[in-house]
Structure formats: C-alpha cells, structure tokens
C-alpha cells in the first residue's frame, strides 16, 4: 500500500465516535484505500472535529478536499423542494430510500447541486433510522404534545414538522441538549435511539415515544470541483464503496436499534409503543401545506410508483 496518497479527502460528521456511522465511514475509507492501492485516502473526523456543517459545505463548494455527512433539510437550503425528504412520514423504510434515489426528480436535483452549487452527492442511502419523541411524560397522540417545548434543529423544515405534529419547536444547539433537559429549559427532544446512548439522555428523560415521525436519511457530499479532479475509475470506486458502506450500516442500525431499545430500558426508560400513528400522520400534513411541498411529494410518490 502506498503511504503517499495522491488524493486525500478529510471527511467530517457531527456524530459520536460510538455511533455506527463512524465505523461505517472508516470501513468506506479502508475499502477505497484498498481498491486504489492507497492512492485515494479518506480521513474521518467525528463529533464535527473539523468544523460546523455549514462551514464544511461552504468549503467543499469551493473545491477544498473535504466532505460532510448531511441531510435533506440542509440540501433544502439550495434546492427548496429537497427538504420534502425530511418532512413527517415521507418515507417508511430504507427500501423506499433506494427507490427514491433512482427517481428522475432526485437525479435532476443531484445534477443541479453539482452544476449550480458545486456540491457532489456521492450517495443518499445512509439511513440513521426513525426519529421519535423523547419526553418525561408518555405521548400517544398529537394532543399529548401540546405545549411541550421540543428541541429541534433550526431549519424551517424541522421546525414546521415538529409544530405540525403538535409540539412547540425550540431551536437549541446539539451540545445544549443535556443541560437544557436537566434544567427543564426544554421538555423533550426528537432524535433516533442511538442518540440516547451517545448522550446519556436516560438520566434526564423517562419516555421514548415511538412516533417514527421522520426517517432520517443522510447524504454523503464532497465538492464537485474536487470530485472532477479524480480519475474516472477513482470516482467510481468512491461512489460504489460509499453506497455499499451505506447499505451495510443501514442494515446494521436496524439490528442495533433492537439492542439500543433493550439498553435504554435497562437504564430505566419506558418505551411507549401504542402511539396513534394515524393521528400523527394526519397532523403531519400541515407541514407539507405550510412549506408548499405537496406537489413535490405527489410527484416523487408517482415516480416511486407509490399510490
């Protein structure tokens, strides 16, 4: 293996090193290094070590050799309609994500991100799993969420989604979650299972309410200018291995979620499973209406062959 790679990519993500995604990124890096005989090297930075997401995306757009694990809400800053992927109950399972990624609309968005904004999407099949509400009282219907201050990322799609589902969204930095909950400055969060373990949230929260309101799909992005500097076969290896690692970790997380559920219970939390999903689904409609995403959803569902 060459110790002097021609190409080095520094890859940043905001998740903890214990999150399954981190191992998957490292596996991706190993596979790419093996197939390019060490000529294309990926260095992985967890916990946003390299910087905040917006800054990294700004950097990669300028052709700096960095990459970022991101989501549809963030891509929605560039192409407004893309945010729909982050709307309540838009996707049901990882299989639908694979189908979605092959639709003409999504292909067009990806081309537009590359040509107009300098963002190259390597793949979008890394699924973190379903987001649930985590609170200190059981939640079964949207009414139960009324008046609860739930921490949510600040982007409009997140805020409107949580509002539509009945709660009061609070924009709070990721790092303030624990102390905010401990001091009752917020009443709850909406996250995936793994986050509870990563941040010891079982110390400050009592219930995981399985609302499954958003299937958290992540995008792997690098700079288009940097991507075009790579030889064609390296480009192919980079994308293929990214997709393969994403498929692997998505499966892995489905297995690990069961483990996480047991661990969360062992640590004293109660899992509420009898949530009224139909009522939440109905309530979620308001987010599509308020953000003008009904057309986008209809078109994507048609292209995916749903309904």
């Amino acid at each position: 293996q060459g110790s002097n790679p021609t190409y080095t990519l520094r890859y940043n993500h905001v998740l903890a090193p214990t999150h399954p995604f981190h191992a998957a990124f490292q596996k991706w890096a190993q596979r790419v290094a093996a197939r390019t005989k060490g000529d294309l090297q990926i260095l992985v930075f967890h916990s946003a070590q390299l910087g905040v997401e917006e800054d990294i995306i700004e950097q990669l757009r300028r052709g700096i050799p960095v990459g970022q694990n991101t989501d549809a809400a963030r891509m929605g800053n560039y192409i407004r309609e893309m945010a729909v992927i982050n709307a309540p109950y838009f996707l049901q399972d990882p299989a639908q994500v694979e189908r979605l990624s092959k639709t003409p609309s999504v292909q067009r968005w990806i081309d537009q991100l590359a040509s107009q904004y300098g963002i190259r999407v390597l793949c979008m099949n890394w699924v973190q799993g379903a987001r649930h509400f985590m609170t200190n009282r059981p939640i079964r219907t949207p009414q139960d969420l009324r008046g609860l201050r739930i921490r949510t990322p600040p982007a409009p799609i997140w805020q409107e989604s949580v509002r539509a589902l009945g709660a009061t969204p609070v924009a709070l930095a990721f790092g303030e979650i624990y102390s905010g909950l401990q001091q009752r400055a917020i009443d709850g969060v909406e996250l995936v299972y793994q986050n509870i373990l990563d941040m010891s949230l079982n110390e400050v929260l009592r219930y995981v309410n399985e609302t499954q309101h958003i299937l958290l799909v992540n995008f792997q992005v690098v700079g288009e200018a940097w991507f075009q500097r790579l030889p064609k076969n390296y480009q192919q290896i980079l994308v293929e291995e990214c997709e393969s690692a994403g498929r692997g970790v998505t499966l892995d997380i489905q297995v690990q979620t069961a483990k996480a559920q047991r661990e969360v219970q062992r640590r004293g939390m109660t899992i509420v499973t009898n949530t009224n999903l139909e009522a939440f689904r109905q309530a979620g409609q308001a987010a599509y209406e308020r953000l003008g995403l009904l057309d986008a959803r209809r078109r994507l569902y048609e292209e995916m062959g749903l309904r």
């Binding site: 903890a16 260095l43 070590q49 010891s200």
Partner: protein, 427 residues
C-alpha cells in the same frame, strides 16, 4: 504546521500583539497547504462568533462591568471587608469565595476570571495588591467555574466520551471545594509573606456584619438568584450571562438607584473593548486550531500515549502532563473536543474511573487557559489589569503550583472526586 508554529513563536518574541501573531501564523498555514484556500481563515474566524455557547463570555463580561457601575461591587467589597478584614489578604480571600459562589452559575473560566478581575481588581489595587497578583489570582480562581457545576468543559467531555454528566458534575464539586480551600491557604500564606494589608485590626462585631449584610442583601444573593433561574428552567448555561446583565441593570437602576445613563454607557464602552480583545483572540485562534485538526495532531498524540506500556496511575499522570504541555498553546475547549474520543477508550481499557479521569482532565485542560505562551484567560486578566505576562508569572506562580498539587492529590486519592457521585447516583 511546523512553519506556522515557528512563525507564531518568532512574532511572539518580537513583541507583536498575540492576536496578530496567531492570526498571521494561522494564515500562513492556509497559504502553504495544498488544497486549502486563503479565504478560509475569514470563514473560520467568523464561525467562532456564530457559536451560541461562546456568547457566555461577552455576556458575563458585560454583567461584570454593569455590576461595577451598579454599586454591586462596592457593597460586596464592604461586606467582605467586614467579614474577612481582620485576616491578612482579606480581599484575596473574598476573590476565592466569590469565584466559588460564581462557579455555581458560570461554566466558563475565562468569563468568570474576566468578570472578577473587572469587579474586584480596581478595589484590590487601591488596597495595595500588585496588578500581576490580582490578574493571577482572578485567573486561577476562575478554574473554580470549571469544577463547580455547571461546567461547559465537563458537558463537552461527558457528551463526547459518553460519560454521565450528572456524575461528572457531582465529581467536580469535591475537587472544586478542595481547590477553593487550597487557594485560601495560599492567599493566607502569601498575604503574610508579602504583607498585603489587613483591612481592620480586629474581627467586626456581629451587629455590624448583620447590618452590612442587609445593606448588601441583593448583591449578596446575586449568585443565588442566577442559580434559581438556571435550576428553575428559565435559562440554559449559555444564557445565564445575559440574565446576569438584566439583574445588574435592575439592581442598579431600581434597587440601588446608582446606575444612570452615563454609567450604563461607561459599562458598555468598557465591555466593547474587553470583548474586542478576548473574542477577537478566540476568533483568530480558530486558524491555528483548524491547522492542528487538519494535520490530526491530537489524534497522533493520543495514539502515542496509548502505546506507552506503563502503570495506570503513571499513564494518567503522563496524559495529564501531555495535556498540560499541549495546553500551553492549544485552547482548552479544542483540546477536550479533540482528545476525549481518543483518551476515553484508552482509559476505559486501562480500568480508570472515567468520572475521576474526566474531572482531572477538564481541570488540566483549563490550566492551559492560564499558562504562556497562549492562554486566553491569562491574556484576558492581564489585559484588564494592564500588567505584563512576566509580572503575572512572577506574582502568580504559587497559585499554579497549588493547582498542580491539588490535581496530584486528587489523582492519588480518587475518593476525593468519586465519593459524591457514588453517593448520589446508584451503580
């Protein structure tokens, strides 16, 4: 990166303001490194000001200046003088006491040190303390804010290293109180040796203390009120500084009626210059910070330490020493973010108590804020007290020795840290 560090040291020796020496050295890295661009420093420096958690620093600086103008300081000093005036170094003892109380509301050593240098500094100077000693005392007692919860450093360590933040907070209390005690002993010793003046010949009569307590009641319960708003779920730690500003404003304009428009403007002007110094430095430090992250220096160090084949306590000692050395140039927050994920698994494998280690690590990293050549807290207090770093070192080294001794004691006797968390949390 080596080139940048050499440039930084060179410019530092030439007497260039530290903020520009850091900025220029960092900028050179972006010029020399293939793949990077010279526009990035702009983005990175700006990004520091867009971090909500860092707003605790300017708001606490403003709160300190407002309290000066509001008459809070004067009352606290009067009361403290009555209470400890008969001791040698009474105002020094007050500084330690005040930091212990403020530790319960402030999570940032820089904010606490800046505020107290501003609040207590002028009064101490009037009583004959040298600016160098005042700067050092306020800087080092600021460490109490890191140990006594809430603590930004412990929250960072706990959330990255997957260690219970509740236990870490409980662990910080023990070493925090020990540190306060040690500081009081050092102040008493130095006061005797350096002949810092007594405020009065004999202890004040109880009646006098009681009436002074009533006169300065609102000023004295200031930390308590902040604590209530924090515990009561009104504010998160980053917001408490702003709450302190509002409280000082109400106290000065409604209760004491000492804060007029002129005083308010004076406090704001003072704060703008203070913040322009401290926060601009934090912004420019981001360039060097990024350079180190880009070259993965902290990770490489972590791997090296994991490779040492030594006894557990010795490894922890070696790690703390390394952090101490690293802290002379790196920012403490950056160090915690970068090394926690490497050090925690290594410590876990060695069987070290992660709460014990985390508390020691947070304190050691925070010392980096006070040691030259780069120490943000040190620069802040030296700037406020208008003293040189040399003077600060000459007058303040016993405090550094005291903190290091405390860490060593806590390292050798883990129950000092772990008793309270084990008492409060099961398992």
């Amino acid at each position: 990166m080596i080139v940048s560090l050499l440039i930084f040291l060179g410019l530092l020796l030439l007497g260039m303001p530290v903020v520009f020496a850091i900025g220029i050295a960092g900028f050179v890295f972006f010029l020399l490194t293939p793949g990077l661009q010279p526009v990035m420093p702009v983005q990175l420096a700006l990004s520091e000001t867009q971090n909500f958690a860092l707003l605790a620093i300017p708001t606490f600086i403003l709160a300190g200046n407002l309290m000066n103008e509001a008459g809070v300081t004067r009352r606290l000093v009067q009361f403290a003088t009555l209470l400890t005036g008969h001791l040698a170094g009474g105002l020094g003892q007050v500084s330690v006491l005040a930091s212990t109380l403020m530790g319960g509301v402030s999570g940032s050593a820089i904010a606490d040190a800046s505020m107290q240098a501003r609040v207590l500094g002028p009064e101490m100077q009037k009583r004959g303390y040298t600016p160098g000693f005042i700067a050092a005392l306020q800087g080092f007692t600021g460490l109490l804010a890191v140990m006594i919860p809430p603590s930004i450093a412990l929250i960072l360590y706990g959330s990255i290293g997957q260690v219970s933040i509740g236990r870490l907070f409980a662990g910080g209390i023990g070493i925090g109180l020990l540190l306060a005690l040690v500081f009081m002993l050092v102040v008493a010793f130095l006061a005797k040796k350096r002949r810092y003046p007594r405020e009065r010949a004999s202890p004040a009569p109880t009646r006098e203390i009681a009436s002074a307590f009533l006169a300065s009641f609102w000023a004295l319960i200031f930390p308590l009120i902040l604590l209530i708003t924090l515990r009561g779920g009104v504010f998160v730690p980053s917001e408490v500084g702003a709450a302190a500003c509002v409280y000082a404003l109400i106290l000065g304009s409604v209760v004491y009626r000492e804060l007029g428009k002129a005083g308010l403007v004076r406090a704001l002007k003072q704060s703008v210059a203070d913040i322009g110094m401290v926060s601009f430095l934090i912004a420019c430090s981001a360039l060097i910070g990024y350079a180190m992250k880009w070259e993965m220096w902290p990770q490489k160090l972590g791997q090296f330490l994991a490779g040492l084949q030594l006894e557990t306590t010795l490894v922890v000692l070696a790690v703390l020493l390394a952090l101490l050395v690293l802290g002379t140039v790196l920012d403490s927050t950056v160090m915690i973010i970068l090394t926690t994920p490497i050090l925690v698994p290594a410590m876990k494998a060695l069987g070290v108590d992660l709460v014990h280690f985390g508390v020691l690590m947070a304190l050691t990293c925070a010392i980096g804020l006070l040691t030259p050549p780069v120490g943000l807290s040190m620069y802040a207090v030296c700037s406020i007290m208008r003293c040189s770093v040399a003077e600060y070192l000459r007058e303040g080294w016993p405090l550094l020795v005291a903190v290091l001794a405390t860490i060593l004691v806590a390292l050798l006797f883990p129950p000092l840290v772990t008793t309270l968390p084990n008492l409060l949390f099961h398992r």
